[in-house]
């Protein structure tokens, strides 16, 4: 693979990750993405999902184009190979979903506290540097790195919007496990 191609692939991968971060910060999470425990109407949910998906498409596309353009100009082999690895940590931004809508109408929540945002950024930086530091010092970007970022971005996209629902179920889940343990142990 030529250095230029390396740079482009690396840029595309980083662009997908950066696109996800932009999406995670821009997406409206004060709307229902699932029925869950809410009484949200079908159309409301559908439109919210389509809007979030469209925004993700736009962010990812812009990220890919910008990343490819930037990648064209980068020649530092080590940076080119390790930046996409480090950028994997940015998918931690999916945790913004913790503060999403979870059933109380009209939609509350959706905005992440500033302190949490700072912690998330620090975590992403630390995680990214840890992953990249131990990564092999290769000059070549493997062809698998772009599909990997695409998959991680899509996993994070779905995880973000489902997190509020999962969070709303935590109490039922723990109670259910408790009942199971009690039954298994035959305690009254």
């Amino acid at each position: 693979m030529t250095p230029r191609a390396n740079g482009v692939w690396s840029g595309v991968a980083c662009g997908i990750a950066a696109g996800f971060v932009a999406w995670a910060l821009l997406v409206r999470l004060d709307v229902p993405f699932h029925y869950g425990t809410s009484d949200a109407q079908s159309d409301t949910v559908r439109l919210a999902c389509i809007a979030a998906g469209r925004l993700w498409l736009v962010c990812t596309f812009v990220g890919i184009v910008a990343g490819a353009a930037l990648g064209l100009g980068v020649r530092a082999g080590g940076l080119v190979a390790r930046a996409p690895i480090a950028m994997i940590a940015t998918y931690l931004f999916a945790l913004r979903g913790v503060w999403g809508y979870h059933g109380a109408l009209p939609g509350g929540g959706g905005s992440m506290p500033a302190a949490a945002a700072v912690v998330l950024v620090l975590l992403a930086l630390a995680g990214g540097s840890a992953i990249a530091r131990r990564a092999p010092r290769e000059a070549t970007v493997r062809a698998t790195i772009v599909p990997l970022h695409l998959c991680l971005s899509m996993i994070a996209l779905h995880f973000t919007v489902q997190l509020p629902y999962y969070r709303a179920l935590v109490a039922s889940f723990i109670a259910g496990l408790g009942d199971l343990v009690a039954i298994v142990l035959r305690t009254p």
Partner: protein, 749 residues
Amino acid sequence: MLTLALTGVWLAASLVLAHALTLDGLAARGVFAGTLATSGIVACVLVLGATAQLTRPALVTVSLVSSGAILAVALRRLGGRVGAALALDFAAVRRGTRAFRDPAVGVVAVAAAALWLWALAAIAWLPPRSVDDLSHHLSPVFEAIARRRFVILPLDLKPWFAYPLNGDLLALWTSLLERDIAWADGAQAATAVLAALAVTALARELGASHRSALLAAGLFLVMPITLKQGTSAYTDVTAAAAWGAAAWGAVRWARAGTCAALLACGLATGLVAGMRYHFLFPLLAIVPVVLLGLVRHTRGARAGAAHFLLAFALPATALAGYWYVRNLLALGNPFFPFRLGVGALTLFPSGLPLEGAIAQSPPFVRVLLQYPLLGFAVSLRDLGVGGVDGGFGAVFWGAVVPIGALAAARAAWRARADGATPTAVAAALFGAACLPYVMAPAVMFEVQGRYLLWPAVIGFAVLAAALDVLRRDAPRAAAAATVAMVITALVGAMPIAAADDPHARKQLMRLAPVRAAREDDVASPWRFVTTAAYGVGPLATTWDLLDVAGRVRPLWIYATGSYPAGFYGTHLENRIWNLGAPERPPHPDALVYVAERPGDDGILYYGDAGFRRDDAVGQLDLFDPVLVTATVSVFFRREVVSQDEALRARIARWLGAAYPDAVALAETLAPRPTRGTIVASGPLALGLKALELRGALGARVVPAQPGDAARLVTLARDGGPVLVAGRTGQPAQPVATLGGEFRLYEVAP
């Protein structure tokens, strides 16, 4: 226990046969054994049901003879190599368990074990409770057990009663052998294991390592839909497992020419073809793969034809053919209720109302092509999450779908250069597996997301192979991706606890009522599902009563409403009178009316509509109202209740257990009327009824819905004075008191 023992014999015989046929790989032998055992069980039930010999002794005999014959043939073929075969399996298990040392595999395995323990507990303690289970999956199963043969139930109630039943026959297997419906919704839990084995075997076929294959299988098992549907009597997990087995068999046969794989493929194809009509679409994609194997591995047209017919077409036709022939002969359409035709040419007309939404709806793929962003409304919402219709989780939508799609696109792109590699074949089958969902009527897209279990089985296998490629290219990135997938999948299993959803069809998994309950003879498992969705919950009390009463005296019930399966009782002691069994008595023992829809009296009648609620209310001399609530009325034939003291006592005890406050209030009645009739509504009426049935009250009690009270008062006049219950403070002089709040007043003649 009998089910476990007989299933174990089938599995053991099939596993020995896998060795005898020199099938390599533990997962591969597992898929072969699971498929053959499932096929054998289905075939036994099928033969007995079709020949009206469906009894427990016959099923045990036929099952033992068939599995024994397979075992004998396998042992003979294996000769003295039984010990070596066992050693081979143990060695493979030891190698496989080493993969569990991988942290990701270990964590997923522990989580899957815990979550499936929950699922098994729900299966064991809760009755079947999903909408379609109680309406059209289990009703033909229970009626077949009652009549000892397959029956097409009234199609005006559900046109789906004419569907092929291969998947449901596994529920019949457990229900008939145990004479208990408790494990009817457990068959799919067993086939979930077969699906996981298919993921593993297929992943290995695609070159994945043990640990990636096991990780993928574990991720499949902790998907919310696998967990929730695995505890239902639906058939999608079973169908996906059989599809996975067929796909594995086809890929293995095409790659290595293994005849045992071709046989498994044929059996699995027959299983699937006998489950749903629209599953025939993806099965068509199996045929070219089988033919590819024939071209590669057989010499001459005659040998190829013999392989195709004996190992593939014959088993497939034997397992699926009955349902199509039956429908052709009985209904004139092998695909009833669907139309079969091309364009204006109709070979078999539709049995559905042509103006209905389903008949009018275009396939979902057409809508999807028109509005591609609608795909996000399917995936981001994780359609049906927490219920039996969906909930695939972020790993499926974010990794399995794109990896499967990329693999399919790559295979198509490089078809000429690479040819039909196992990965290319699997990718093509992944695409074919999406057909049942995208070809389903668009109006059904919200409830048919479960069909995506099919591509999930293959997609997870492709994902496992892709993960290994990533590990070689970028180990740190692969490790990070694995951690992300495991965390996402485990957090995403949270919907196993989901229950409260006004829209989706949730599968109730709450064990709290079980934990709180005490064992006694006046309650059945139905009492645990009073919060079940889609109108099932309110019926729980009614079914509980009929179940408890049926244990004293099996009842012929005139049933109404959308859910016939709930009336049979947990030990299948009761029968539905209006389904028209030839041996039914002239009159039903009990009449049950369920108000569940607007219009007329809101009651859905089916079968013989001889006893409408209005008529029953007017025949106080023949029928005795026992349980009357806002939505349900249960009348017992007076003759039955009056002549059976044990039944009276049991119903009275049940009322005491189900409505303790009302019975406690009724106990305060003073003085107790010794003759006449008391007409009352609400729980108080049920408390008074308990007193009457117990012999503690001389007057007859007639629980009534408020709208019927005036009519019943008029009708009851022939039986002496008529009393009505009311609150204190009315101008009339009360004849008796009931606590501080209620009084009995005599109605003026």
